[in-house]
C-alpha cells in the first residue's frame, strides 16, 4: 500500500483527480457566485429557488444543459464542430497541473519551465474558439471567432510582457520558485511592480473574454459570438472552459503577483494570529449560515442551514488541529486570494460597458503594451542598478507607469475629440 502512494505516477494521478474534481466544483460554484454577486450589485437577490438561497442552482443548471437537445447545424463541419468545445475544455483544465496550490507537496508537477508551459497550454484553448466558430458555418459565430482570435493574440502579448517582469524579479520560470522568492523578499510582487500587475489583470480579463472585453461573445451584437450555434452539453463545455480560464487567470495573478499561498505579511512572526484565519473563517461562515437559517421561514431551509452550520463548526474543529492547520494554511490563503481576484472580475462585469473592437485593439496595443514594456525595462534596469530593493523598484515602476500611461493617453479616447465617420 505504502509503495503505491510513493510511485510518482499513482500519486500524480490521485492529485490530478482531486484537482479535477475540486476544479469542477469550484467552477460550478463560481457561476453561482457570479450570479449572486452580480445580483447584489444590481439590487437583486439572484438565484433563490433551487435549494436554500439557490445553493443547488449550479446543479440544476448543469442538469438542464445536459438534458437539452444537442443541435448540430445542418451544414456545419461536423467533426470539427463536435471537437472544438473539447479542445477548449482540455486546454483550460490541463493548465492546472502546473499551478502550485501550496508549499511542498501541494503541486501536481513543478516543471522548470512552469510559466511557459502554462502560457503555452492556455493559448491552445483559442483553437476551440476559432474552430468552433468556423465549423458552425454561420455569420455571427465566424465574426465572433475572428474577433476572439485577434483579441487573444493581442492581449497575450501584453500579459506575457507583464509576466516577464515578474520572472526577472524571481529569476526563474518555476512558479514555486516565484512564490518562494516573494517569501524571501518579504513582499509580494504586486508591491514591487504594481504596473505590471494592473496590466496583467486587464489583459487577463481580456483573455478570458469577459466584460468589458467580451466582444467575441457580445450578446447584444453577435448574439453570443462563437458559441451561438452551440447548445446543450457542448455549450456547457464552452461555458465550463470559460470559467475555468477565469480561475486560471486569477490563480496565476495570485501566484505571480499576490504571493501565491503565502499568508499576508508572512515574514512578520508576531502576526501569528493570522495563521488561525481558516478556523475563524469557517466559524464565521457557520455563524452566517446560522443567521440565514434563523431568517428563513421555510422549515426545510432552516434544517439545511442548521446542518450547514454544524458542518462548518465540525470543519473548523478539524482545521483547528495544529497539524491540519499548518498543512492547509497555503491552500486556504491561495483560495482566499483567488476568490478576491475572481470577485474583481465579476465586479467589472457589473460595472462597465463593453469596448468596441477597434477600441479594444487600441487599448491592447497602444495602451497596455507600451505600459508593460516600460515597466519591464524599468524593472530590468533597477534590478541591475539597485538590486532587489523594494522602494527603488516600486518608485521607479510607478513613475514609469504613470509617465507611460500619460504619454499613451495624451491623444486618447478620453479627449473630447470626436472622430468623424470614415467616409465610404
Amino acid at each position: 500500500m505504502q509503495f503505491l502512494f510513493r510511485h510518482p505516477l499513482i500519486l500524480s494521478s490521485i492529485k490530478i483527480l482531486v484537482v479535477f474534481m475540486a476544479l469542477s466544483g469550484v467552477v460550478a460554484y463560481l457561476v453561482y457566485m457570479e450570479r449572486k454577486v452580480l445580483a447584489f450589485m444590481q439590487a437583486r437577490l439572484g438565484p433563490m429557488r433551487v435549494g436554500p438561497w439557490g445553493l443547488l442552482q449550479p446543479i440544476a443548471d448543469g442538469l438542464k444543459l445536459l438534458l437539452k437537445e444537442d443541435i448540430v447545424p445542418a451544414r456545419a463541419d461536423k467533426a470539427v464542430f463536435l471537437l472544438s468545445p473539447v479542445i477548449s475544455l482540455v486546454a483550460a483544465f490541463s493548465v492546472f497541473a502546473a499551478i502550485p496550490y501550496g508549499p511542498g507537496g501541494w503541486t501536481i508537477t513543478n516543471p522548470n519551465i512552469g510559466i511557459l508551459l502554462i502560457l503555452g497550454l492556455s493559448s491552445l484553448g483559442i483553437y476551440g474558439i476559432i474552430l468552433g466558430g468556423w465549423a458552425s458555418n454561420s455569420h455571427y459565430p465566424l465574426i465572433g471567432s475572428l474577433r476572439s482570435a485577434a483579441q487573444l493574440v493581442s492581449y497575450e502579448v501584453a500579459a506575457g510582457i507583464a509576466v516577464v517582469s515578474v520572472l526577472l524579479i524571481a529569476n526563474s520560470l518555476s512558479l514555486v520558485v516565484i512564490v518562494n522568492r516573494q517569501q524571501q523578499m518579504g513582499v509580494w510582487n504586486v508591491f514591487l511592480n504594481p504596473v505590471a500587475f494592473v496590466v496583467y489583470l486587464i489583459a487577463g480579463v481580456a483573455e478570458t473574454n469577459r466584460n468589458p472585453f467580451d466582444l467575441p461573445e457580445a450578446e447584444s451584437e453577435l448574439t453570443g459570438g462563437f458559441h451561438t450555434e452551440y447548445s446543450g452539453f457542448r455549450f456547457s463545455l464552452y461555458f465550463l472552459a470559460e470559467y475555468t480560464n477565469m480561475v486560471l487567470i486569477s490563480s496565476l495573478a495570485v501566484v505571480l503577483f499576490l504571493g501565491g499561498w503565502l499568508r499576508p505579511f508572512s515574514s512578520l512572526r508576531w502576526l501569528w494570529p493570522l495563521d488561525y484565519a481558516p478556523v475563524v473563517a469557517l466559524v464565521g461562515a457557520g455563524a452566517f449560515v446560522l443567521w440565514l437559517g434563523l431568517q428563513s421561514r421555510v422549515r426545510g431551509e432552516r434544517m439545511f442551514f442548521a446542518a450547514l452550520a454544524i458542518l462548518c463548526a465540525a470543519l473548523a474543529g478539524v482545521v483547528g488541529i495544529p497539524l491540519v492547520l499548518s498543512s492547509i494554511q497555503g491552500v486556504f490563503w491561495l483560495t482566499v486570494k483567488v476568490l478576491a481576484v475572481l470577485y474583481a472580475f465579476i465586479w467589472y462585469r457589473a460595472t462597465f460597458p463593453r469596448y468596441r473592437f477597434d477600441q479594444l485593439m487600441t487599448v491592447g496595443w497602444r495602451r497596455l503594451i507600451p505600459v508593460a514594456l516600460s515597466s519591464l525595462i524599468v524593472t530590468a534596469t533597477m534590478l541591475i542598478w539597485t538590486g532587489y530593493r523594494v522602494v527603488p523598484l516600486l518608485a521607479a515602476n510607478l513613475l514609469a507607469g504613470i509617465l507611460t500611461a500619460w504619454m499613451v493617453s495624451v491623444r486618447g479616447a478620453g479627449n473630447r475629440s470626436r472622430p468623424t465617420r470614415e467616409a465610404i
Binding site: D77, V80, P111, N112, I113, L116, L117, L119, G120, L121, S123, L124, I126, Y127, I130, L131, G133, W134, L142, S145, L146, A149, A150, L152, V153, E156, L173
Partner: protein
Amino acid sequence: MTLPQATFLILSATALLSSVMVITRRNVVHSAIWLIVALLSVGGIYLVLQAEFLFAVQIILYVGGIMVLFLFVLLLVNVDVAMRQALFSRQWGVALGTAILLLAELVYGLWRGQAQPAIAAAPASGVSPGNTQAVGMALYQKYMLPVELASLLLLVAMVGAVIMTQKRFE
C-alpha cells in the same frame, strides 16, 4: 522497449500520419488542424529529447502563434472556392516521383550510416542539454549577434506584413 522509446514511437507515428493528412486534405482548415497535431507531436518529441524550453517555444510560438495566424487567414480567405478546385497541381506526378526519390535517397543514406557507430554514441548522464538557463546563456552571450539579426528580421517581416495587408488607397 522502454517508456521513452514507446513515447517516441507513438509521437512520431502521430507526427507522420498527421503530416500526411496535412498534404492530402481537401479542406484547408482540416489541413491546418492536422498540422497543429503534427506540431504538437513534434513538441512532444522535443520533450523526449529533454528540450523543455524548445517544447515551450514550439507550443507558444508555433502552435499558439503562427498557427493561429494561419487559421485566422484561412477564415478570412474563401475556403469554399479553394475546395471546389482541383487538389493537386498539374505536375503532381513528376513532383511526387521526385519527392519519393528524395525519401529513398535519405532512407538509404541513413540506413547505410546506421552501421557507423560514431554518431550514435549514447549521451553521458549528467547535465541535461535541455537546460533552459543554458539555452538562454548561449542565446544572449555566444549568439548575441544572430539574436539581434533575427529580431531585425522579425521586425522587417512585421512591417512588411502590415504594409502588404493594408488596403490599397483607391
